[in-house]
Symmetry: C2
Subunit: 984 residues, 2 copies
């Protein structure tokens, strides 16, 4: 559109949107065109809130500006002049007036989403050596006027003319001028309040001189030139480095552009009856329904934020300025009832009159998000579906995580920072070895396990620890994965982000930037922020965990839990996608069930291999070079595994359990050659010679273990392992079933890429099941399925589905193989990849929908083409990531599976996905009803078919409301719908 | 059909096919129904060759037999009796006749393909205590008759009744009986010829007793029972272990089943005017057109094969039995002119009369295959297209490989066997370390490099060696890959196949089953068979290599080369797919061009990094922790790389070169910590401390280097590397172009999974190209493209094609990632995987068309949907595998690229693919012309479109004949075609 205009056609494109005096050209829905700030200024104006008049230059102009070599559309100037005239009319004063009160302007950027790093604000625009005198005259406040003027030059000189601190300078040049002036005329540390009118006048002169020296340009005196410069600076700031970095990080398209808001100045600094403030309609930290915020008397908005003077809580305004307070409280109510969400707003009180400068949806903590949603529903401001949508699923993590006391954090010394891999807060004595950590844990010590990286044999140490700190590895490293599943706090890859950080295992020390911490010293880690602190900071479990897991009656009665529970109940009403858990032990199952899991989606049998002495039987099995030896060792393992499964089946109380057979490369279970204790213990307990063990370790070494002898390849090379595991599963199943608890084992064969692999393993499982059922005279209802975790498995899913009763997408490995990226080795290029936007998000944290997702889609389609009721799930780490959960819903999976502590997050995301689908479906229905009625039925029919497939085998716990709505909408006669559409 | 019959319906299915007396129910094309032997017996009978009458029980009966619990169709017995009656009529004697000459039968199995491991033959069936007397009477030869009888019992007892050597026995039980009898009546080592009639009679009795003892059953006396038993044994042998293993190995479907041939006996053992023999119509070893084979006077066929008596060359028959020889020579001519291929046949001469017992296409060596094809074309027996089809592309390898003298091999001691990874023969002194191997090579020693496995730093040692022997790793291991590219002989993974084989690097010894070989000892390896010999066996280069590469005039005049060249010229007439080469040095390029390559498809820049001192500059670059350090090291590398490319461009003489930028993980270039010399040299040459180097080695360690920091990930993290490489390429290109030689660089970015990765690298390449062209005032015609070698790249090929000018499928890595299998680690499960038929062929040797091929198909379709003229190639090892080459042709790729020594193989496969396509297309046209004429035009049109795409950018060297034919066929008016079809 903008481009067309440039080619000289008589375009009618409107570029400037006026607001003020209870009216506005735009409204709150026009954020794309007017930016967030501009749209809401218009909206507030429309609903009669006291907004200083002004106009918004639309984002189209920004697009035009970049498409046309930093020039503006021809028609813009006229519209701008009209806008200024509108302000003059309402304010009753003139822009650049040198006689009466001059109209002064505030110029602010305003992108669709608020964007730090862009130019923020220029105030008092329109002042020059003449208008400042008119301002003196009009206000009778010489000091105020000259202060405004020097502030304007300072801001404008900085952001428009680029007079900024150079790398070789210690201080901002304007501040340096102020210091110099203070030094020349007063004490060095004199307060601004002590500066005289003459001081300000001199500052103005010295500032102008500074600008001239630095820029070789005069400071612009013509108010219209000032305005043009300020607008240009806003557009220019859209593409400065910080803004680009921010957009990259938050995935904001560069094409959006920014709007510019030009608004009549109001002054909070005209005296004791004026002030500025920032406030929330409710407490964004706790969620409490109180007027929350702070203000400064006799100050402009920037002073509140700058932190030079300490603002007062907004409640105190009631005493200081009762009438404005009452007005603000009224506005607070209007905002919430109009915007239906908690607002974060800025206001200025000029001589007792309140002005609204901005409003937007307030950022909030997870706890507050839940409370806002639940209480606003109760207040009938929103319906329960909206309440579900209101809580960012990721934020539940905060609600569930143990936390450090915030005061303690402020006082603590942060020594390093890594990836926030397992949310929460943990303090403890550091240990560099799992055995010693476990021993210390047994003694009741609070322990932090600190390792370069962890491996399955560290499980005991991790179990015993409050938290895990690793120097290497990403958010999907072994440490992070297991920590999240265990609900442990975890900071990963700290040395990648912290220079000079290293462990000396021999000396048992951690050195960070020259400071050395010995084993047993206290550290604290914040798994939500990734920060590592010196010493021990106090922590507590979240109220939710206390209520659900620890069964605390007090916590159950607490508001946080009550709100959480209400939200979860709403989710259940709407969810189609079931949420299972990844769990390897009865207590993990219990936790997950408390959080609402509907079964186990992934039980990793090998995690049990490290408990107690069983590791030696495992090693014996691995190192045996003949069938005889392996069978002997497996016979030792059988009772252990049976016991494990018995515990898990009991804990599940009849819910299904997907049990994955042995998956990792065998050498992961072997002792390391240089671990003296492990080696000698292994020699002792297995009866094998050290020489033989070393030889086997070498033989089992693999170049790329991720792509090596693992998964079903183990069970095919050594069928006796599969036999033992199947036997353990079915014997346990029979035992538990006989005790009166239902069992639903789902045996899962890992790493299948060829149908034949699955056939070979399934044959063994069936044979063992048959044998056990015959021996023990019982019947077990079981299934056998596979993981889809290599691309070939996805590509040949139609063949594999002939044998598989279910698929579970192992998206960790599927991501590794589809992308050809080892998650443990990506640290070396993750940073340049994210900086260069090769991928926006770590594909191991959030599913790569385009690449890996396409393979999943192929597998879903091919799998269901063979078996229409094929049960489909996902058990990679992505099962707990909201975006990925939503993708799984859209793919038509039956369930996601995630670590116990992410179950509520997945449930919330699943509910939101169902609502999104229903909304899209209704939109579909509506739009097609308007134009092509024939499509309506098909669209509705399709939605129903999805539901049928997805709910066929997995019993979702609640009725799929969203689908019902879609169905209902679809059933609505086309005519009626068309009529309705016309009315609009 | 068979099943229907079993349900009692009056089926007309014919089960028994009679042949004899110049007629036959079947013919040579009915191999599926009658088996290879049966079909050819029928065919020989039809064309009037002297075949003893008989019948074939069809493979349908075998299917019926297994589908119906080992029973036969009801109608079979009647047909069998009719068949026997037919034989009786022709032979003029009766089956089971106890008065006149009894009809005796031979029963033989006969699957579609000849299949060792199945029951072979039972002769003289129909003999019992009565008929043997009739035989005595009819022949007047008592000794002959009783010898026939005892032979029959022995064979029947063995293969039908299962009287065989038990594991605890040292000898066949029948042989033991014979020994016992000899011991009882004669000397222990008396010759069979000395046995008397009474001895034979007693043997018959003792054999019957043995059968009774072992089977608790009487030996069947009723000839019809004998026949039934023999037929059942043939069907039963279809599913014995050896047959199953064989089918698995050679990819023969279990469903095919076998036929049974029942034929009237003729006797080569009736006296000095009788005999048996096996012959070829031409020499299957050399290909010479001579009557080739061997015979025995007075012997049955089995005696020729058994090796008890040494047969005489068939030529000698001319002197011994002139008339039968003349008849056989006539038959030899008839066979070739009828079957149009070299035949391998069995004959029996009974009392001077020749009988044909079998004929089939003769197996042949590669050299013979080429000579047969070329000479038969000259003789107008076949056309040149058929000649191309006749040579199995793989067999060219034998023609090209140096060979051991066959006599020397017989005398040599084979000590181990591994995978035949690089064909040919090599002898040399063994060295366990590349440096020492290279040093020895420099001194002019013949060297074999022997390693557990090789890595890129062994390149120097490999270059200096005659051959490479590794103890670990498969046919696609580093050693195998590089060896094939270099045309080196290679045996891989020998320790996987040979127990007790190990290297002691410290002691510099190789131990095999207790024998120790020191460094410097001679070994010989046969890379075609995988066998390792003690000592040095004499070798010679193939005549082709001598002619094309070494330029030997003598070799050029030799028949082998002349034939080869003729074949290659025919290939060029028909090929659409271009064949490029993988080459990293000018001499490799020269070799490949001599073999007919049309350019470089893959130049691995990093292979040059190991030459001379440049490795230290590489190490310096890798270990630098800052940009400054890397740039300094890269500046040292630039002249080396430029020089490399200059040499390559010159050698190419204007043909295109696809140059891949740095690909492998950096730590591959680092010294190993425990390699003292390497470490100290690196310290010296880089000026870095040992401590620092060790630290960097640790930091650069990766868990899964295949999925780690490599490929374009290096160039994105360190753009300066890409800059240096691009500069080297373009500076070399300009230099060479200025010298008057055309250059066509195609810069290839490896391991791209995301379009953005390619964008980032392409940007650098273009920038450098622009800069170099400006600096040197030249214009280079170049392209930039990418490898498709991770599944995500294939899945998002439409996006990637927006930037890429060409794709090259890196099927080695694509196979690794799509299957999730590391080729270096698959040794641990390769055997169980092949035994269990998870995959039939090693997917790193032959492309997995279902899995990896599907991803390629997706990439081809998506890539060309974005860019219809996108140039497509393959540069994985599969580019030299005939099946894979054919698949690439069908996919519509423009070229394949393979190691220089496989170029002729790929050219032959490409020609065959074109012929196959033309045949299929003509068949399509014919069949659609018959039924749906409308389809004809479309089908023809499609073929034309393919051609257009595939030939758009890559200039194929010759006109695509096959396509032309298809087009021509397609153009033929539908009516005419339909008419033609009707006539048939």
């Amino acid at each position: 559109m903008a481009k067309k205009a440039s080619k000289g056609s008589a375009s009618k494109t409107k570029y400037v949107y006026f607001f003020g005096a209870g009216k506005a050209d735009g409204n709150g829905s026009m954020k794309a065109l007017l930016g967030g700030k501009g749209a809401n200024l218009a909206e507030m104006s429309r609903i009669g809130l006291p907004v200083p008049p002004g106009y918004t230059i639309s984002t189209d102009v920004c697009t035009y500006y970049y498409d046309n070599k930093h020039t503006y559309p021809a028609s813009l100037q006229g519209e701008v002049e009209k806008g200024v005239a509108g302000m003059e009319k309402i304010m009753g004063c003139k822009f650049g007036d040198t006689k009466g009160m001059p109209l002064l302007l505030a110029v602010r950027s305003g992108a669709r989403d608020s964007m730090p790093g862009m130019m923020d604000t220029i105030l008092n625009l329109g002042l020059n050596d003449q208008t400042v005198l008119a301002l003196v005259k009009a206000t009778g406040n010489e000091r105020f006027a000259w202060d405004c003027y020097r502030r304007f030059i300072q801001m404008y000189g900085d952001v428009v003319m680029g007079v900024q601190k150079r790398p070789d300078e210690d201080e901002d040049p304007f501040e340096l001028v102020i210091h110099k002036l203070k030094h020349d005329h007063h004490e060095d540390d004199v307060d601004d309040a002590h500066l005289t009118v003459d001081d300000y006048k001199e500052l103005v002169a010295r500032f102008k001189k500074l600008v001239k020296e630095r820029t070789k340009k005069e400071f612009p005196t013509n108010p219209w030139d000032q305005l043009k410069g300020a607008v240009g600076a806003v557009f220019g700031s859209w593409n400065n480095d910080r803004a680009i970095v921010y957009r990259r990080k938050y995935n904001i398209p560069h094409e959006w552009g920014t709007a510019v808001n030009v608004q009549a100045m109001v002054f909070g600094n005209t005296g004791e009856n004026s002030g500025s403030g920032v406030a929330f309609t409710r407490d964004p930290a706790t969620g409490e329904k109180v007027f929350y915020g702070e203000f400064l008397i006799n100050a402009q908005g920037e002073d509140v934020v700058a932190g030079v003077r300490t603002p007062s809580p907004v409640a105190e305004l009631a005493a200081v300025m009762p009438a404005p307070y009452k007005e603000l409280d009224r506005i607070r109510g209007v905002l919430e009832s109009h915007f239906k969400d908690v607002q974060d707003f800025e206001f200025t009180i000029q001589d007792g009159k309140v002005f609204m400068l901005q409003t937007r949806n307030g950022k909030r903590t997870g706890v507050a998000a839940v409370r806002f949603a639940v209480e606003m529903e109760k207040e009938k401001l929103i319906d329960w579906q909206t309440a579900i949508r209101r809580v960012p699923a990721d934020q539940l993590e905060q609600v569930l995580a143990p936390i450090f006391d915030s005061k303690a954090v402020k006082a603590a010394k942060s020594i390093a920072s890594g990836l926030n891999a397992g949310p929460g807060a943990a303090s403890g004595k550091i240990y560099f070895n799992s055995d010693r950590a476990a021993a210390a844990g047994d003694k009741g010590e609070k322990v932090l396990l600190v390792r370069n990286e962890t491996s399955p044999e560290d499980i005991r140490g991790m179990l015993a620890s409050e938290g895990i700190l690793t120097l290497r590895g990403g958010v999907s490293s072994h440490a992070a994965l297991v920590a999240r599943q265990m609900g442990k706090v975890c900071v990963c890859g700290a040395a990648d982000k912290t220079p000079d950080m290293s462990i000396d295992y021999e000396k048992r020390t951690l050195t960070v930037a020259g400071t050395t911490y010995k084993e047993g010293d206290f550290l604290s880690i914040d798994g939500s922020s990734g920060v590592v602190y010196e010493g021990s900071l106090p922590t507590a479990a979240s109220e939710i965990t206390q209520a659900l897991v620890e069964g605390s009656a007090e916590a159950k009665e607490g508001r946080t839990f009550q709100n959480f529970q209400k939200l979860m109940n709403w989710c259940s009403k709407v969810t189609r996608l079931a949420v299972r858990t990844n769990a390897d032990s009865p207590d993990q199952v219990e936790n997950a069930l408390a959080f609402g899991a509907t079964g186990i989606g992934l039980c990793r049998t090998e995690h049990m291999f490290f408990e107690g002495d069983r590791i030696y039987a495992v090693r014996e099995m691995i190192m045996s070079t003949d069938l005889e030896g392996r069978k002997k060792a497996l016979a030792k393992l059988l009772p252990y595994q049976r016991e494990d499964f018995t515990g898990i089946f009991k804990a599940l109380k009849g819910l299904p359990a997907t049990i994955r057979l042995l998956d990792p490369p065998l050498h992961e279970f072997l002792p390391k050659e240089d671990q003296e204790n492990e080696m000698s213990d292994t020699v002792k307990k297995t009866g094998m010679t050290r020489e033989f063990i070393v030889q086997r370790i070498h033989q089992l070494h693999e170049f790329n273990p991720m792509l090596g002898h693992r998964g079903c390849r183990l069970g095919i090379a050594y069928p006796e392992i599969t036999e033992m595991q199947a036997r353990a599963i079915f014997e346990a199943a029979v035992d538990v079933q006989k005790s009166g608890v239902k069992v639903k084992p789902e045996v899962m064969i890992p790493l299948v890429g060829f149908k034949k692999e699955l056939d070979l393993q399934v044959e063994i499982v069936h044979a063992v099941a048959k044998a056990v059922m015959k021996e023990r005279k019982a019947k077990i209802d079981y299934q056998v399925g596979t993981m889809i975790e290599v691309p070939r498995g996805a590509i040949t899913a139609d063949e594999i589905a002939e044998t598989a009763q279910f698929f579970s997408f192992g998206t960790n490995d599927l991501t590794q193989t589809a992308l050809g990226i080892s998650r443990d080795d990506m640290g070396a290029f993750l940073t340049p990849y994210q900086e260069n936007e090769v991928f926006k998000k770590n594909p191991f944290a959030t599913l790569d929908q385009v690449g890996v997702g396409s393979l999943m889609k192929i597998a879903v389609e091919k799998g269901r083409s063979t078996k229409s009721d094929l049960k489909l799930g996902i058990c990679g780490e992505h099962g707990g990531d909201p975006d990925s959960v939503k993708f799984c819903h859209r793919l038509g999976l039956n369930y996601v599976s995630c670590s116990p502590y992410r179950v509520p997050i997945a449930r919330l995301a699943a509910a939101q996905a169902a609502l999104e689908e229903a909304a899209a479906s209704q939109k579909d229905v509506r739009s097609s009803a308007g134009s092509k009625p024939a499509v309506t039925a098909r669209s509705g029919g399709k939605a129903t078919a999805d539901k049928k497939t997805a709910t066929n085998k997995t019993k979702t716990r609640n009725k799929p409301m969203a689908k019902k709505a879609a169905k209902k909408a679809a059933k609505k006669p086309a005519k009626k719908a068309a009529k309705k559409a016309k009315k609009k």
